[in-house]
Symmetry: C2
Subunit: 328 residues, 2 copies
């Protein structure tokens, strides 16, 4: 299996994408990596690593889409960017998947346009892993579609369910609709409509309040991309803010250095669950291909996990399962 | 000053409202409490307490609005409820303010209808205290208005600013508009419009992502009541879920009981900032009167703090300041 990797996506490139790709080769022996990006830059970076040359491919893409570029950039002004070239390599069959830690908006637009949508999909979506006391949950939509129609809630619930089952290994995941109260008539008109449509699903939990997320009342947290994106980034800020708050308390309480060390060890271990790196990245669900995006700050470890995650999406025939579910 | 207290609001009544009222009398010597609720029930409860009888008044309100009742209940089917009777006592001048730990929707509707709106106010709103690493912030709207027009964002920003300055003691509080990115063109149409209108304010920070809330990038977090309510309840769930997560870690790491005790002491102290009890409750801003609502689970301490908070709103002429700000 060949996975195309955006060598110039994220905050630290080509270092992290290249290092992550090499790590993935070490972990999964039947894998090849196709790096997309400025060829000279990649070749130079590869010199720092030991690897099996037969398993590393290159495709030249001299242009770089920055984090500040508009979503349309890979499609309009930078058609020779790693995003455009890498996705086209996947589309043509030269790679089974494409991963990037680059500009999410640009990746979503390019993935949708270059790969196309799966049969029956209204709009592709992006999910995010969200920690709960019962283990990782899935937040959909995490920012791709700011306003949803009720049918989109329905499709996102189905796609999220398949991802949760196949890739996250959750058994019988429950879908909760984020709302201001649990009763069916809560929320705006769109939430009442969505509730009705979602009621057709066997695994619909019902409405879920904000306090039901981290307590893990459901496994899949369904919401519009506006609320979802704010929730996601709020959640991501918890480990660091908590550390600062606890540091203040430790100072006030004048605890010893040894005690402080222990407290921070426990906190760090607890917060591992909030660490996006272990999940690497998430796919754009609903596109006719396997395209994953990771955090801009993705470490080599995160890139490696994103590549392995992509290979799982391929091996589990995620898209075939999505199509059958949507058209059943 | 007389403060009317809903004796049958919240999860544990009349115990907590009555105990909270008596606590407030002990702390603030120029205060009288007017309990509204079923007279016999209140008289029986008062027997458990020592208090100055001249400072405790009663107004009979035999009906009780439950947490499950519709918002219109105090106005339609239960006109003799503590909410209706208490608010009318405030409207007529028998009390300077009204507080309740009861049904928020019913309190908002009854406060708006019985007290009326302040001059120039489109819609009253409700705010919530939200902890940040820089101290308490203010989240507006916390659930009163699920969808906003841009002028409402503007008014809520102004009302929130006055509350933050006068009651929370914040100097030059900054208003941030919750959004999916900091750039002015981010979000749905309504957020772009709101951004333009808010730009007229001297204390507008700009757009704020979810990660900017707990890091305290602004003091006032402006959003629609749908997103605000989900954020609020999510935030409220942090202390308890964190405790459970850390307990799991402590078990895994097999730390000693003494060490565990220390860790939980530090955590508990840190989480005091997330404790709604210290703030007691928040006013419906924009109504022509002083009406505060607290958490259903309000303890006597929370009720006491809500009463003192109400007296501050009166003493600071909060509403006069809101009217001048909105009409300036």
């Amino acid at each position: 299996m060949v996975i195309a990797v955006d060598a110039v996506g994220g905050d630290l490139f080509p270092e992290n994408p290249v290092a992550g790709g090499i790590l993935a080769l070490q972990e999964k022996k039947d894998l090849k990596i196709l790096f997309a990006g400025p060829e000279g830059l990649i070749r130079e970076e590869l010199k720092k690593h030991n690897y099996d040359e037969d398993r590393v491919l290159l495709i030249d893409a001299p242009e770089i889409v920055t984090m500040e570029d508009a979503s349309s950039t890979p499609l309009k002004s930078k058609k020779n960017s790693s995003i455009s070239v890498g996705l086209k390599a996947h589309k043509s069959g030269d790679a089974s998947a494409f991963i990037s830690a680059g500009n999410t908006g640009a990746l979503l637009a390019a993935s949708t346009l270059i790969l196309g949508k799966l049969d029956g999909v209204i709009r592709p979506t992006i999910a995010a892993i969200f920690p709960t006391i019962k283990g990782p949950g899935l937040l959909v939509d995490a920012g791709a579609n700011l306003e949803l129609k009720s049918e989109m809630y329905f499709q996102f619930a189905k796609m999220g369910t398949i991802y949760a089952e196949e890739i996250m290994g959750l058994k019988s995941p429950k879908v909760g609709l984020l709302n201001i109260g649990e009763e069916s008539e809560k929320g705006c008109e769109i939430h009442k409509e969505a509730y009705q449509v979602l009621s057709k699903l066997d695994n619909f939990y019902g409405n879920l309040e904000g306090k039901g997320v981290m307590t893990g009342k459901a496994d899949i947290f369904l919401t519009d991309g506006f609320t979802g994106n704010i929730m996601l980034k709020f959640g991501e800020s918890i480990p660091e803010t908590l550390k600062q708050l606890i540091e203040n308390t430790a100072r006030e309480m004048k605890i010893s250095d040894d005690q402080k060390k222990l407290v921070f060890q426990i906190l760090a271990k607890t917060m591992e669950q909030f660490d996006y790196q272990q999940f690497g990245g998430v796919p754009f669900m609903g596109v006719d291909g396997v395209s994953l995006v990771g955090h801009g700050g993705s470490s080599p470890l995160a890139i490696k996990n994103m590549i392995l995650n992509a290979s799982q999406c391929v091996e589990h025939d995620l898209n075939d399962k999505i199509v059958s579910s949507l058209n059943s």
